[in-house]
Each structure stands twice: as C-alpha cells, then as structure tokens.
Amino acid sequence: MNIVILSGKGGTGKTTISTNLALLMKANYIDCDVEEPNGFIFLKPEKTQVKDVQVEVPDIDKGKCTLCGDCVKACKFNALARGKDKIILFDKLCHSCGACGLACPTGAVAYRKRITGIIEEGIKGNMVLKRGILNIGEPIAVPILKELLSDIPQNGINILDSPPGTSCNVVNTLHYADRAILVTEPTAFGLHDLKMAVELVKTLHIPFGLIINKYDEKNQYLNKYIDEENINLLGHIPYKREIAESYSKGETLLDHEEYKTTFLYIKEKIEEELL
C-alpha cells in the first residue's frame, strides 16, 4: 500500500507530515522530492547504501556521421544541434528517448551512460528509508524517481513524500499511489495550488484526504472550498512557532506530547476513512 503525500504548493509541510506519519504508522519512508530531499534529516537512517542512477545519451561516431542532421530533426528536446563540422550534444537536455538512433541512416549513433543522481537506502528499526538525489545542475528528475520507485518494499505501508507542484515529477510519483494525502496551508497560495492538486488526484482516480497545516481557528480560508468539493478532512496541525523551532533542529513532532496526540488522531482517521 503506497500513500503519497503531496501538496501543490511548496512549503506546506509534506515532509513534516510524511516523516511523523511514517514513524507513527511504522511505515517505510520514500523521499521522492529528489531535487531537495530532506526527510532523512528527521528520520536519521542507519546502514545507508548508495547506488548511482544512470541515463543513456547519444555518442556519435564521427567516422560514420554524414552530418545529414536527421538526428537533430528527430530530437524533440533540442538536445542535439548540427554545427559546422560535427553534431553537438547538450546532454542535460537529453531525455534518453532513443529517437536519434532510430533516425540515423548510417548507424552513427551509439549510446553511453551518464550519471545524473543517486539512490540511498537505509533502515530505522524495522522501517526501510529510501531517497533519490538529483545531482546539482541536472534539470531532469524523472529517471531518478523511476529508479527509486521501481524498487520499494512490497509489504506493509510505504509513505511516499512527493515533490511539490503538479508537474511530471509529481505525476510520476502518483503513478505508484494507492492513496493520496494532500497537505495545504490556509493562505491564498495554499488554496490556489490545493485546487490543482485536487484536480490531479481526481483525474488519476486516487482516493484522497486532506490535512491542513499551519491551522489557526481565526483563519477559515479553506472552508468554503472543502465543503463545496466535499473533501475528506483528516485533521489540522496548528500554526505554532514551537513547531517551526522543532523542525529547524531536525526533531520530529512526536517528541511533543501535544502534537503526538494530533498525529495519533490523524493516523486513526486515515486508517478508518482512507485505507
């Protein structure tokens, strides 16, 4: 059972919710926010193993290349260009689709591997903790995500901490979702991006619930939308300085009795209404 925690807007608390829920539910934790994974700061895995993630990029044999430019025309990502005396590869734009090789009439295109990131795997008690890390400067995260998600535990519950937004990276994470939990904050931005996230999970037919983070009783900004859309509200986490301080030290909220109660309530609600 894979539960994806996503938000639309960044900074609403996906990692706070994901790490605390994973601990409380004794679930495995998979950090899919490969551009800036930070869940391990809170979960502190042991016995971490690392492996490279490689993608294929074209390697053009100058001896066989006639500079016809068919590979350049075939590339939909502008990763190849025809210069004066050679084909030039912009490797960071390459999506490894293989079209250039198919288009080449002289068999001049071979492929070589290029490392764009790593996968780390460790444990904490009985929990399996994994994360992908995209190398700095690399623009394409999807190959890291696919490699990460192709090998996750098959038994028990996996909490997948999604990247923010509603782009390719989130959609690829949601391909593995059995359930989704949306996290938002009661602000105009939070509401705007929540609507996009709701549309996305509905389009993909994934059963979902909502957690409101940074909640303040005086702020009822989201009520109308939640009522209109009939969204299953799983709980609130209060807007407190104490929580931000605890987060900044890399602590989990379960260390505080008050917030542990909050998370226990959310966990029960998830088990009753979402699983």
């Binding site: 502008n78 260009a81 004066k84 030039i88 734009l93 623009p139």
Partner: protein, 120 residues
C-alpha cells in the same frame, strides 16, 4: 553576407527583442542586396532548449553574425562553434542596428549571458 537580428516584430521598424532564444522573430538581413526576410523563431514555443533551436535555425540560414542581447550559454557555444559572431544591441529599431553594424559601432558579445534554463 547575411546577418540575423532577434526581432520583436515583422519589419525593420520594430525594436530588437533582447532575448535570443525566446524572441518571436528573426530578421535575416542580406548586406549585399539590402533585402531582408522574416523567420518565426522555432525556439519561441519550444519546451526547452529554446536557444539551441534558435541558433540551429540561424546556422542553417548560413548567417555570419547575430545581433541580440541575452544569449544563454548553450546558444552562445553553438553559435561560436559555427563561427557566427554575436553583437550586442539595445531595444531600438532593427533598422538603426543594421546601420550601426555597417558602421562597426556594435560591441561584440564575447561571453554568454546567464542560463535561464526552465527545464522542460
């Protein structure tokens, strides 16, 4: 000899577009005949690698110089490797820039502008 200008509109009275990869048009100006034609920039609507698509278009047109302003690293390297010189223009009518080029008053661009890679 042909030169190209990244243009905001379809004739020489329009201003230069300071963006190279995402300018809507290129004016291809033939200095031998003083004639010009307009090309839509394929880079403008490209999902990524706009500068590369734009530079490729100009290489295929066999231009020998480009007048623009912000040329990113990928496009800069590609144009440079094809021996196409780049010159910096301001946001003024393309007609004036052609005259300034002829008089040798434009400054050559010797290094690329910042990357604005939007990803994909």
């Amino acid at each position: 000899m042909k030169i190209a200008l990244s243009a905001s509109g379809k004739d020489l009275d329009n201003n230069l577009d300071l963006r190279f990869g995402r300018s809507p048009y290129f004016i291809i100006y033939d200095l031998d005949t003083d004639q010009f034609n307009i090309m839509e920039n394929r880079g403008e609507s490209s999902g990524g690698g706009a500068g590369i698509a734009a530079a490729q278009q100009l290489i295929d047109e066999s231009v020998e110089a480009v007048i623009s302003s912000n040329i990113g690293p990928n496009a800069f390297n590609l144009l440079q490797s094809s021996d196409i010189k780049m010159y910096k223009g301001n946001s003024i009518p393309c007609k004036l820039l052609v005259e300034m080029y002829k008089e040798g008053k434009l400054q050559e661009i010797k290094e690329s502008g910042p990357s604005r890679k939007g990803g994909f």
